[in-house]
Symmetry: C2
Subunit: 957 residues, 2 copies
């Protein structure tokens, strides 16, 4: 019985009403085919909703018998909004709930009532005339009814600013006066939430004393038309439903009206009823609806509770008949959409990771692919959001450069320092942003590379080698090895980096962040010791030469050590109590241990450290709190670390203590005195060292490859919906070239930094504005461009000259931000969720899909193995055996492989993901349920699938 | 068609199986009639569930065709638990959801199937024989089916310890071997959650290939009997439902089985089916169930999502036929239960607040009522929970005594001090606990009284009066006035203290707590100043007399002021750098400002302050987190302040700095030197002052009355379910007597302290253990007794001699705990929730019933008025006009009265509560919806009614 009617909407949908969401506009700058699945908006655009969105309004007849009036008491788009009559406001959007009898009453009323499925009415008056004509009513009643139906309903309209709507947004000919929308309708702020092609449906329900029997009418207008003030928004109406009857039992007609509205808000019912040709089609659609409803038993559920909208809607396509024209599109959509969620599908090698089989084939492919996007990489950066991203990432990069600069200076005894760190970061980062395959990556010194460099330096010091030339040769070899890896397309092996490897690596880096932050704070308390009672740090006075005294007295009072000084009787001295600087000015000499101690610094540092850490954490959570308008919340949480730094600086300035401040180099010359910018290729080293350097270079190459590519894999995950594709080979090539450059200049080595890069991506997220009330904004992708990174690194380079401004930032504040970055990174990986499970009694555990499918003991075993691996990595990193650390990282892949003997493929699918081999040998095995009885897994809808790749939204903001 | 069957269970329910929950036992110590409504447990006991609780288990037939096996895949008591087959564990209990078709299929299967409603089977074998006999099956099939049905099902049993169950818990005769439960069944930990009379229902469902057509059977056993290993718990089964059929479409029989189980778990269906006499009754019960279900539309709701159990179940009685015998009981229950929720009902004057019209009539009534409970007041205290309450309240009381002691010492220039504070608290508190009407009250110095005392002291100092005698006369007058108030039963006026007054008062006290804590911390940083760079606090050396020098040199170097000392050239001095104590020991003289400064103390104090505050806050939230077993969480959150104090002390000890510590008096004598323990009645004051003292005494009486009675009203709220009744008159009488006593002894004045008293009650909460999985433990009441308070005050008295232990507690830690108490108290009142609403955009506001019924602007106006009143009170408290502060508190009641011109009664009903007059003039007006159309308010079930009295669970733990 379906599809009998010629589809009038089909022709309409392709005319000027085409809906191009604002957010999608900037994607049209690049090539138009998106490699990833379409967004939720696309689903509505391409899928079912070639039919326009329906806005449904329930007008209830109130005030019987004295003052009859129509009043809007509910409205529906995706969810229900009720009018709180007493409070005079709309309820929050919620999932509608119905009583089953009201649906059945509606069905019987419609089956006996009037159904007009192609009504040619052009105005409310015509419509009302048609509706009352057909009914077997007395002429008197008709008159009364007509007057009643034409009565202007009372809407509850939230106006926000004036906006002309007639003639401009809906250019339709106004033939009848009552069709002209009211001014308040035009000012309705709801209009802005409706897509241009939206249509309205009006449900009128209520009790009418002069009716002898119930009166039901369902009208589909042939041409949708604005029915005057009938609906609160002046958009053309397509459906009209009238449910009136004598006053009987309580709220029967109100509930029937709600049932009709909920029915109309169902997409499949809409689809059917738009195509229905007679009453039978209508009732069949209603019955089909009833077949699909979910039933909650009474008594276990408070039927008046309002269920908040789910975060993600179930897919409508499943429920549409397959013979539909759209079926094929929908199938594609379904696949594309679920790919985000089912990681085992995402492991089908993406085009970037398919081996070409030619030397440098992958690199050539990457260059070709990225070249296409190159102009848009700059144009896409012209967006206000990029400004905040630049500010934020710049601060993170500078902090990183300073900290790692300091650490490197310590580790290499000044062979590299803060200036080299700034210069190298700026040079390497900017070059990478210009050339790389994935320009969202932020290059930085990383923990693992720092550990390796420290080892290399101690080795060369122990064997009295000239460090920088030796390092140059290591760099040359590493670059060579990396080029070999690029040539052989080794990057396709990243497919063996499963979540197990990623999480192990990520957790290690996060722990290094946290450990460093805490360690540096502890160091500060050692530099500025706490004065305990009895600790002899009091004494200080200003001593002058005795007027008649000779030099011998000076000598006599010169103590050998501190204890000596304290216990010694100084005898007669010419003294004052001036403060040390004044003393020196006056020609005196400050004496005593108390002259050099700075009190309070240790505790004020701890205070600043904690304040900035806690403040940043708190600000980050402002986004999910309910306070302040969403704009304010977004700014507060986006700039949480900047604001925390500012607060820390303000507090420090207020206290006015001499806390250790950020030291920015002021002169542009190498930290190590007496070396030029170019490292001499041999120095004092023997010639064979140029060859021997290949051995450490091999280890370093493994490390660089792992460090670089794990980060690249994380950044290029499907769930980030990158549309310009990855460039694993090109990235590695760039890293190799920069390796050579930095080795020659004696600058630090750089690879991709996971935490900052993810923070970079996070600050460039594009989200749709929420459309219908209750609909969550959906993630559209990332602003992929080269501009933000480039500006960040240019600013980093310029910072060498920004010393006068940056010198006000206290170091403890920066350590606090570091701690925050580490904690945020650590808490975002799924591994940590599982660690938390270890501490939770089973009944309090969250309802993770993982736990529905894998026994708890197995989950715990997997977590314990990960913890053990992490512990082992940490121990190796801290011992002299640290030189084999890169091999151990590689070993993680091996451990993961070995886990296949311990865990079944199903368990690994849930806990981790499958490695490439299994996928080939047991295709789609993972999708089968683990138990022989059919359909059990079907209980878990796509909705419940957690993204299997953890969203390492390390989101430093 | 109902109630035809003789009710076999009726006789059974009155025999030895009577269920007396453990928690209810201790209430039997006092008189047995409870003035408050019955608890949730009562509802089950008295109401519908004279029928036993039903445990329903779904056994599914799996493994067709190879290895047929019955497996338990779901179970129901109040909520559904699913077996997660892959994970091998039970899901969390959740509200079951069904597909409508499965219910309809079940209906048609049952209508064609076998229904045995009085089956006399005594064993599984007999039952199976009956079920297969009646069906029109071939003998061969019958054999197969019998073997299959007798096959032992596979349960998923969580065992916890061994426990014999056969013969001991269920003494039934075992005639057949297969009826003997398995060992694993007896070890099932679920047994402990079932009440003794519980019965089981088994639903067997699945696909069976050799069946040609569906096979449905529903059996009600005449005598419930343990059907061997059929259910996982070895309790007698009452119902048996078999749903088998040829393998057809997917999970049809599984879903039908679930539908049958959900049906059986419905109390009304249970009620009907226990009394059904034929198939029609059964189908009618099913149809009645369908009439009551809630329907969720498809597409807007993920049908596989699991809805967590609501915190509070809807009342079953609403849905039971009224002709039932229990109807009257239920109506009583309903009323009693909803009284907790509808505060306007709770304002019917309770017996304690009804005016007798006789002089001291109220007092006599109080004494009579409380005398009955007096023995139980001591016996009820013998519970381990009371131990933790004592420890906790003791610490709070001591902290309070110390702080207020210190403040009073400051305010009265030593006329009172810490020792008086300890002694007075111990004496007054213990006496009050022994004599008072509401012994849960904790007496303490309070902020308002302190403010008044400070004013009184400055007045008497300004006019050169002898303070303590003057104060004695004020005390005598106050006691007199209070006795007049008791005699005239003025306490019944507390009914005019609505939430508006309470919240204003509570907020003021909380703010005083917070302000004091922060102020004291700031004071500390003034006492131990921070050494800023350049601040001349360095200089310090040890000066000896010059061997040959004369006294004049000493004089010459003796500076006039500090600046002088610093700038002065001291000339030749005989010096060393010994630390000040050593210097003095060696006969020298420490010179210079640096000798007296103690560095780091200010910051370490702030650190300790913040640590203890944040740690206490964090521990308090452990209770609602999912970590650790519930026992550990409870201990951690109950002892949060104790643990925070311990942590603070530990941190302080670790740092080893000379932070200011708690000063506990060591000698037992009045702080003011030269006064005895008794205050002389006249001193140096003129005689007429004894009369003039009546004026300030009048103001103080108002203050004492307000302070005492507002706290009493809060403590005696209905929602705390106190069963021993209040004693407003008796309490005030005690306060008056103690007023006299403390005035004579020169000790501080005491009234009820809101915050600590509520913390006291909170630590004595009785909760039911959760019964069925998913059912929340319900609040049963408070352990009302006099023992905890008495022990607390005895300990406080003893603390005068505990100085050696208490002196290790740093003051900043105590200030942190004070801050925590203030913040916890402030955040628990509804007023603060409304203040938060001011900052929230409308769409993020929580779905409070209040907001459904009152326009947001009116809510904000009400909040603003409250804020203004609070601000005014604060200003008055801080200015010289503070003496009229008590009148202003009384003014709050007037302001509330005036609000009736601004707000409608409906609005006030939602925002506050009605004052007594309105209730009389417009009886039950508040219950009518504010809009003329009927039934709109009925949408808000009782479930959604927030307790209108804010739960000021100030819960210092």
């Amino acid at each position: 019985t379906k599809m009998k009617l010629p589809d009038q909407e089909e022709s309409e949908s392709s005319n000027a009403h085409e809906n191009v969401p604002v957010e999608e506009l900037d994607s049209s700058l690049g090539p138009s085919t998106s490699p990833d699945g379409p967004s939720d908006t696309d689903i509505r655009e391409l899928g079912i909703c070639k039919d326009p969105l329906l806005f449904i309004q329930l007008n209830e007849l109130l005030g019987w018998p004295q003052e009859l009036e129509w009043r809007e008491t509910g409205r529906w788009m995706l969810f229900e909004e009720k009018l709180e009559v007493g409070a005079g406001r709309w309820s929050a959007p919620h999932v509608p709930t119905l009583a089953l009898p009201s649906l059945q009453q509606l069905r019987s009323l419609l089956s006996q009532g009037l159904v007009l499925l192609n009504c040619p009415a052009q105005s409310l008056l015509e419509l009302v005339e048609q509706v009352i004509q057909v009914e077997s009513l007395s002429p008197e009643l008709r008159g009364q009814l007509q007057a009643l139906l034409l009565q202007r309903p009372r809407h509850h309209i939230q106006t926000r600013g004036t906006r002309p709507c007639w003639g401009s947004t809906h250019p339709r000919k106004a033939s009848h006066d009552e069709n002209v929308p009211l001014k308040e309708q035009c000012q309705n702020s709801l209009i802005q939430k409706l897509p241009p092609r939206a249509e309205a449906a009006a449900v009128l329900a209520g009790e009418l004393g002069f009716l002898a029997q119930p009166l039901g009418a369902f009208v589909r207008l042939r041409d949708p038309v604005v029915l005057g003030p009938l609906t609160e928004v002046p958009i053309p109406s397509r459906f009209f439903c009238l449910l009136l009857g004598p006053p009987t039992h309580g709220r029967g007609y109100h509930e029937m009206g709600r049932a009709a509205a909920v029915l109309l808000s169902d997409l499949q019912f809409q689809w059917s009823v738009r195509r229905a040709s007679n009453l039978q089609d209508l009732l069949a659609a209603l019955d089909a609806f009833l077949e699909r409803v979910t039933v909650l038993p009474p008594g276990r559920w408070d039927s008046t509770a309002r269920i908040p909208p789910p975060k993600c809607l179930p897919f409508q396509h499943k429920r549409l008949p397959l013979q539909m024209q759209e079926a094929k599109d929908l199938f594609f959509l379904c696949r594309a959409h679920t790919e985000d969620r089912h990681s085992h599908e995402s492991h089908e090698p993406s085009p970037e990771l398919q081996r070409t089989g030619r030397l440098f084939g992958g690199l050539a492919q990457d260059v070709r692919r990225k070249a296409l996007w190159y102009p848009s990489d700059f144009l896409d950066g012209l967006h206000p959001q990029c400004f905040s991203a630049v500010l934020y990432i710049y601060l993170a990069t500078v902090t990183n450069a300073i900290t790692f600069g300091g650490l490197l200076g310590d580790a290499t005894e000044g062979a590299q320092g803060v200036l080299e760190s700034f210069l190298g970061t700026a040079l390497a980062g900017a070059a990478f942003c210009l050339m790389a395959g994935q320009p969202l990556t932020i290059l930085s010194s990383t923990g693992p590379v720092l550990v390796f460099e420290r080892l290399l330096f101690s080795f060369s010091r122990d064997y009295s080698l000239d460090y920088l030339p030796f390092r140059l040769w290591v760099g040359i070899w590493v670059a060579t090895f990396c080029l070999v890896l690029v040539a052989t397309e080794a990057s396709v092996l990243v497919r063996y980096f499963t979540r197990f490897t990623e999480e192990g690596f990520c957790a290690l880096i996060s722990l290094i962040f946290i450990y460093d932050a805490l360690g540096k704070m502890l160091n500060l308390t050692r530099t500025y010791p706490i004065q305990r009672p009895g600790s002899p740090a009091y004494g200080c006075f200003c001593q002058y030469p005795v007027p008649g005294g000779n030099e011998s007295q000076w000598t006599r009072t010169k103590p050998k050590d501190r204890d000596d000084l304290l216990s010694m009787d100084l005898g007669l001295v010419n003294a004052s109590l001036l403060s040390p600087p004044e003393c020196t000015q006056q020609g005196g000499h400050p004496r005593g241990p108390g002259c050099h101690t700075v009190p309070d610094i240790a505790f004020v540092s701890i205070l600043l450290f904690l304040t900035s850490f806690l403040f940043a954490m708190a600000l980050k959570h402002v986004r999910t709190s309910g306070f302040f308008p969403s704009m304010v919340r977004k700014v507060l949480s986006d700039f949480s670390s900047v604001l925390a730094i500012l607060l820390g600086c303000g507090l420090d300035a207020f206290l006015g203590l001499a806390t250790p401040k950020l030291m920015v180099p002021r002169e542009f010359k190498p930290t190590l005195p007496g070396r030029g910018w170019l490292v001499s290729p041999f120095g004092a080293n023997p010639w064979w060292l140029t060859v021997a350097a290949a051995l450490p270079a091999l280890l370093l190459s493994i490390l660089i490859f792992m460090d670089q590519q794990i980060t690249a894999v994380i950044l290029n995950r499907k769930e980030y919906r990158l549309r310009k594709g990855a460039g694993f080979h090109l990235d590695l090539f760039c890293v190799a070239v920069l390796m050579l450059l930095t080795s020659v200049l004696g600058l630090p080595w750089y690879v991709s930094a996971t935490v900052i890069s993810l923070a970079h991506m996070d600050s460039l997220r594009r989200e749709s504005r929420d459309c219908a009330p209750g609909e969550a904004p959906s993630f559209l992708g990332i602003r992929e461009q080269r501009l933000t990174g480039l500006v960040v690194f240019i600013l980093t380079g310029v910072s060498i000259f920004l010393a006068p401004v940056l010198k006000f930032i206290p170091m403890p504040v920066l350590y606090g931000i570091f701690l925050y970055m580490g904690v945020a990174a650590l808490s975002s990986i799924q591994f940590m969720k599982r660690v938390k499970l270890l501490l939770m009694p089973a009944k309090h555990q969250p309802d993770l899909l993982l736990l529905r499918h894998v026994p708890l003991s197995r989950v715990h075993l997997f977590t314990a193995i990960q913890l053990a691996c992490l512990g082992l990595l940490w121990i190796i990193k801290s011992t002299p055996a640290a030189i084999i650390f890169p091999l151990m990282l590689l070993g993680l892949v091996g451990v993961r492989k070995a886990l296949e003997w311990v865990f079944s493929p199903q368990e690994l699918l849930w806990l981790d993901e499958l490695m490439p081999e299994e996928e080939r040998s047991t295709p789609e095995k993972g999708l089968e349920p683990e138990h022989p009885f059919s359909g059990y897994a079907s209980e878990d809808s796509e909705l419940m699938y957690q993204p299997k790749f953890p969203e390492i939204n390390i989101s430093v903001n």
